[in-house]
């Protein structure tokens, strides 16, 4: 937080101009449209977890839109320039920037639930991201989030895991896999060229949850897939998307893209990570300015392919405990994976209980938007997570499945904080559990 507050003392005029230039973007009509569309009806309030939890007006999504739109109006509209008070057009100064940091970084998971429910259709997450871009230009990204991005830029993965530690973990998991499938030829390949699949991980996997790597490796083993991991650029995450620094987001996306080309991978498979999938699949080609030369799908889609084609066979009676599904916002609402995820899980589990609401209407776990990386807002994050915790409790399930390691992390913390007594699993783990070898 110290870095942010220091930066707020005085905004560098050059950086301020660069931030303002982002609002004058004329690359397409999207920004101008959404900046001019909100009517401040306030009906979005109850779609937001922050408002639902804390019942303060500042958390209403329209307020988050308004702070960005008010700056836009001040410098880009007739009334904003000549009668600013009439339309609440605000200058971009230290006070406004400080408010932006709290609202746009500290009070939004960019889950997009308010977007789908907005009476107009304002893309609130997009405007929040635009506001974050402005703050990034002015060097006002919360320090903890920035350090996560710095780690990814400097080391190739957001947890700065040394290569040796990573390869040791992979070798350990390979041995575990060999024991489990009773085949000493079972492998977790590293840096192999010309493979069909270039697989990616969330660094939380090698760091904290290596068994999920083994689970996916078991699925690849069952499908007799030709695949590899990279030792350098295996990180599917891209916190550059969350900190709003497009240059850093582009660099991170390019590192992964170039690594796939270097190893001549035919398909890039995005490991179970909501924002990582979003940032690579939907933003990556735009960051780099061209379509990718290779196919790129998520791990869940790949599992569906394996099931469809008969490359893996599942016995869902092996997963008979009551399970519920947490839909990661960036994969389901913002990624169109609702049916794919249900398809895979209904093939793997015999007792699925949906939360209410679910699917495209699901609540965020509370860890999205980079919240998990921003320790400054831990209390808020765990506070809004109560909505998800209550959903899980009401479902009666004993296992929560989610195809996102950030969600897993937040759900584990909710499990502990709210004493839910459930087990949190990834899709690969539940599918691996149902494999018939």
């Amino acid at each position: 937080m110290a870095r942010t507050l220091d930066a707020m003392k005085q905004i560098d005029p050059v950086k301020r101009e660069k931030a303002l230039a982002l609002l004058a973007d004329i690359s397409d009509s999207k920004l101008r449209t959404h900046l001019n569309s909100c009517v401040r009806c306030g009906l979005c309030a109850t779609s937001c977890m922050y408002y639902d939890t804390f019942h303060e007006a500042k958390y209403i999504p329209a307020v988050k839109v308004d702070i960005v739109a008010s700056i836009y109006k001040r410098y880009n509209t007739f009334l904003g320039k000549h009668a600013p008070k009439l339309v609440n057009a605000r200058p971009l100064n230290e006070e406004t920037a400080e408010e932006m940091v709290d609202l746009l970084f500290g009070s939004c998971t960019m889950c997009g639930r308010c977007v789908a429910h907005c009476s107009i259709g304002v893309d609130i997450s997009y405007l929040v991201h635009k506001g974050r871009e402005m703050l990034a230009e002015m060097g006002m990204v919360p320090a903890s989030l920035q350090s996560t991005v710095d780690a990814a830029v400097q080391t190739g993965n957001n947890m700065a895991i040394p290569v040796e530690e990573y390869t040791d973990t992979i070798e350990w998991m390979e041995e575990e896999l060999q024991d489990e499938v009773e085949d000493e030829n079972a492998r977790i390949p590293l840096d192999e060229q010309d493979c069909n699949i270039f697989y990616t991980l969330n660094p939380r996997e090698p760091k904290f949850f290596p068994l999920s790597i083994k689970a996916m490796a078991k699925i690849f083993y069952a499908a007799q897939e030709s695949w590899t991991l990279s030792t350098k650029y295996y990180d599917v995450t891209n916190y550059g998307y969350f900190n709003g620094n497009t240059a850093e987001a582009t660099l991170i996306a390019r590192n992964l893209h170039d690594e796939v080309l270097r190893l001549k991978g035919k398909r890039l498979i995005l490991g179970e990570c909501g924002h990582g999938s979003y940032a690579n699949r939907w933003e990556g080609p735009n960051y780099l300015g061209h379509s990718y030369e290779f196919d790129m799908i998520t791990a869940v889609e790949l599992m569906k392919e394996y099931i469809d084609s008969g490359r893996i066979r599942l016995d869902k009676s092996l997963n008979s405990e009551p399970v519920t599904i947490h839909d990661p916002c960036n994969l389901v609402r913002n990624g169109g994976m609702f049916n794919t995820l249900r398809y895979v899980l209904h093939a793997s589990c015999s007792n699925i209980i949906e939360m209410n609401p679910y699917g495209n209407d699901n609540h965020c776990c509370g860890g999205g938007g980079g919240q998990l990386a921003m320790s400054e807002y831990n209390e808020r994050r765990l506070g809004i997570g109560k909505i998800k915790a209550d959903q899980i409790s009401k479902s009666g399930a004993t296992i929560v499945i989610t195809p996102c390691h950030n969600c897993v992390d937040q759900l584990l913390q909710l499990n502990h904080t709210y004493k839910l007594g459930v087990k949190i699993m990834t899709v690969a783990e539940i599918v691996a559990n149902a494999l018939i070898l």
């Binding site: 690359s27 009334l79 429910h117 169109g336």
Partner: protein, 211 residues
């Protein structure tokens, strides 16, 4: 033709020119040049954005706030009707067509209902502390002016031969037309582009249409 007729005609032209400016700018800017490979149907997503997703059962902003939603719909219908009647009234300066009295009363009655809805929305903004906390003068001017515009349209339709009402009607219309493209009322245009972008976004990703 009176001076207020001329003013109204000038205001209408100014309003159209300003809206055309907004419209042409948006069209020229075009849609995002998305390099990511689509996994859904963009046209289907856009259709869904304009039709299905606007249904009250699909939006929390509607089904959790049904009275406000209903008032909003009626209020907006009243605005569209008032705008059509303004065009009719301006043409009628030259054609002098006499609207049947019964029709004038029916239209006036309908607009009275939409005026009350507009008033309700305004009162809600004034009364609810949270809503008031992030409202600005534009919200009150846009809501108030549109409501007054509907009210005076109702009166003018019901009593077309009263010169005082006619004059006030055209003066209010002038104010409304000049504010229309400047205040938040310009969402009449931006709304359609917002739905377009939303349908494009969710359509490409395969989120919409929902099955």
């Amino acid at each position: 033709m009176n001076w207020y007729h001329i003013l109204a005609l000038v205001a209408l032209v100014a309003c159209i020119v300003m809206f055309l400016g907004h419209f042409i700018r948006l069209i020229r800017l075009g849609m995002p040049k998305d390099k990511a490979k689509a996994q859904g149907s963009t046209p289907a997503g856009i259709r869904y954005a304009y039709i299905n997703s606007m249904m009250p059962q699909h939006k929390e902003s509607a089904y959790l706030h049904l009275p406000t939603y209903a008032a909003g719909i009626i209020y907006h219908l009243g605005t569209f009707l008032s705008l059509l009647l303004l065009v009719y009234s301006l043409i009628n300066i030259f054609t002098h067509w006499a609207m049947p009295e019964v029709l004038g009363w029916i239209i006036g009655g309908c607009l009275l209902i939409s005026t009350l809805c507009g008033l309700g929305v305004l009162i809600k903004r004034l009364v609810k502390r949270e809503l008031r906390s992030f409202s600005n003068p534009d919200d009150y001017i846009s809501n108030g002016l549109t409501t007054i515009f509907q009210a005076i349209t109702a009166l003018f339709m019901a009593f077309p031969h009263l010169p005082a009402i006619e004059m006030v009607y055209f003066i209010i219309s002038v104010l409304f037309l000049l504010w229309f493209p400047l205040g938040k009322t310009r969402h009449i245009l931006y709304f359609f582009f917002a739905r377009l972008h939303l349908g494009y976004f969710y359509g490409r990703r395969g989120t919409w249409p929902e099955h």
